[in-house]
């Protein structure tokens, strides 16, 4: 009995280890390739680790010798678009979340159902109409236009998630502060905001990942001006440069992926809670 139990535990852990390693493998392969010199990348017998690790792929990407423009340009574009859309959409989402979690009003259910529906509209279909609108409004090849899109498209999910966090704050705390003579602004900044801060972090991470990773809109709206490219478009741009330099592409993906990965590892515990609050409210 005891032996079969132990045997089962060992099998379970063995399977778990295999699952984890297989899952991590593509990430490992990306990093490993990024450090390989060209002779090893195109070798007939690929090795898991670079025999002669080199920084040259990264150097080529960062100084821009592959596509004629340095990495920093694209990093800056991505940061500008991502950070500004996260800040604005989080503020908007918080206001809306307070409305739906704290007030009963006539169009509340309509508003919530609308959020569920619009978040399912396919971006690759909407992009057709949006392209014509942005063209008319002179917002093509503009980071401002892209930021506006990211704000709007991250809102449905962030509001939906954030309202659970607001609802979880006991109403009595706000009432007690109000009885002590605090005005609505004081109640908001001193009581509600500190308590929903963890939730705000979670939803911001979602908005961040969405904007940082977004591809369809960036591809369509930044089509002609290379200097405006965000990182996802920049990574795929290597394909269009004649012969495919996998070392450079992998180095570029590492530089694109690493910031999200690190950020993600820092907040992952909270994120796990948010992932569930957002999609599967049981």
């Amino acid at each position: 009995m005891n032996r079969t139990k132990r045997l089962r535990a060992i099998t379970r852990n063995g399977v778990a280890l295999v699952v984890a390693l297989v899952t991590l493998f593509p990430i490992f392969w990306m990093i490993s390739t990024a450090f390989k010199p060209a002779t090893e990348i195109y070798s007939l017998t690929p090795h898991p680790l670079p025999a002669h690790p080199t920084w040259s792929n990264f150097a080529n990407v960062i100084n821009g010798s592959v596509i004629g423009m340095p990495y920093w340009t694209f990093l800056r574009n991505s940061l500008v678009v991502t950070l500004s859309s996260v800040v604005v959409s989080s503020a908007m989402a918080l206001l809306a979340a307070i409305a739906v979690a704290r007030f009963r009003f006539r169009f509340r259910a309509t508003y919530l159902i609308m959020l569920l529906i619009v978040q399912m509209l396919p971006q690759q279909a909407l992009v057709i109409a949006l392209f014509l609108d942005f063209r008319a409004a002179n917002l093509l090849d503009s980071l401002v236009g892209l930021t506006l899109l990211y704000i709007a498209f991250s809102l449905p999910v962030t509001i939906w998630m954030l309202r659970n966090f607001v609802a979880a704050v006991p109403r009595e705390l706000e009432e007690a502060a109000a009885i002590d003579g605090a005005g609505p602004f004081r109640v908001f900044f001193r009581v509600l905001l500190p308590l929903v801060a963890p939730g705000l972090v979670t939803t911001s991470v979602f908005a961040f990942i969405f904007a940082w990773n977004e591809f369809v809109f960036a591809l369509t709206f930044l089509g002609t001006d290379t200097a405006k490219f965000t990182l996802p478009i920049y990574v795929t741009y290597f394909f269009s440069k004649g012969s495919v330099d996998w070392g450079a592409i992998m180095a570029a993906s590492v530089l694109f992926t690493l910031p999200v990965m690190i950020f993600f590892l820092i907040v992952q515990r909270r994120l796990r809670a948010g992932l569930l609050a957002g999609a599967v409210k049981g």
């Binding site: 778990a16 593509p26 690929p46 259910a109 396919p122 971006q123 690759q124 279909a125």
Partner: protein, 297 residues
């Protein structure tokens, strides 16, 4: 007061999500191409003309077939793998569970662009790892020399095999974590009681776990169908950025009609509408599932 609070988000969503959806519907009934964009000719109503054009286009039927088949294969696969990993996570020790779920969530957080690019490289005919390993495989396992420089992106079946792997890799973690969260809500006594009564793991799952987690499975199923039927980024990159017309799915075909010269916005909008309507029908199920669970109340 509540109206003032939802005003900013309602305006942003209305202007950039709801309004374009309405425009898309309008354009789908119009003759809208390059002359109309440049102002050389006015837009004119063509009734169902664009839709007739779409329905008589063999490319549409090929794209629809690909979209449907892809969802039919990938959705059950994702749910199966995700559920198995979720069940496994539930029985692991604390440290091992943390390790596996961190690995899985890293794959989930990976940008779709990076994931696609990595898999295109893994399956590259010149130097890619997959062809190398398949060559080394003994022939009774299907390996051998025919895999030498095998191109995965030149035909729909191999290309969508690669896309399936990319999507599975990035989508199973979400299912696993959701299932795990559901499992945590089931009292351990229920499982123990079933086991004491002599039920094997298979019976325990179908008689105890599945009925209790049914709402979660329903939501996961609907979300997966919506995501996979409308898959764009991964398919766009793996199939060579609009390079192979016989590998288009619905979303890519609509995109191609609008953004490959000369643009046919009317026809593209009709295609976009077909995609949107199909997804909205599935979404109706998703909304109903949410209302039933009391998420809207």
């Amino acid at each position: 007061m509540p109206y003032l609070l939802i005003l900013p988000s309602a305006v942003a969503i209305g202007l950039l999500l709801a309004w374009p959806a309405i425009q898309l519907a309008v354009y789908s009934f119009q003759d809208y191409g390059l002359p109309q964009v440049t102002g050389a000719a006015p837009t004119s109503w063509v009734g169902f003309g664009n839709y007739r054009l779409v329905l008589s286009d063999p490319e549409f039927w090929s794209a629809l077939r690909i979209s449907v088949l892809f969802a039919v294969v990938v959705v059950p696969l994702t749910l199966l793998v995700g559920t198995l990993v979720g069940l496994l996570l539930n029985r692991l020790g604390r440290k091992m569970a943390a390790f596996v779920s961190t690995a899985a969530l890293l794959a989930w957080a990976m940008p779709a662009v990076s994931a696609s690019v990595i898999f295109v490289w893994l399956f590259d005919p010149d130097g890619g790892l997959a062809d190398y390993l398949l060559q080394k495989l003994p022939s009774w396992l299907g390996g051998g020399a025919r895999w030498s420089q095998f191109s995965w992106t030149n035909a729909p079946l191999p290309a969508y095999t690669v896309i399936t792997l990319v999507v599975l890799w990035q989508a199973f973690p979400f299912v696993a974590v959701s299932v795990l969260a559901g499992l945590k809500t089931i009292p351990a006594e229920l499982h123990e009681a079933a086991r004491v009564d002599g039920a094997g793991p298979w019976r325990v799952f179908w008689k105890v776990t599945y009925p209790l987690l049914k709402p979660i499975f329903l939501v996961l199923l609907l979300l997966s169908v919506i995501w996979d039927f409308g898959i764009f980024t991964q398919a766009y990159i793996v199939t060579g950025e609009l390079g192979n017309r016989d590998e288009f799915n619905l979303g890519i075909l609509a995109y191609d009609k609008a953004f490959t010269m000369p643009p046919a916005y009317g026809v593209a909008s009709a295609l976009g509408m077909v995609l949107t309507v199909i997804l909205l029908i599935i979404t109706a199920g998703y909304v109903r599932a949410n209302i039933k669970q009391g998420a809207v109340a």
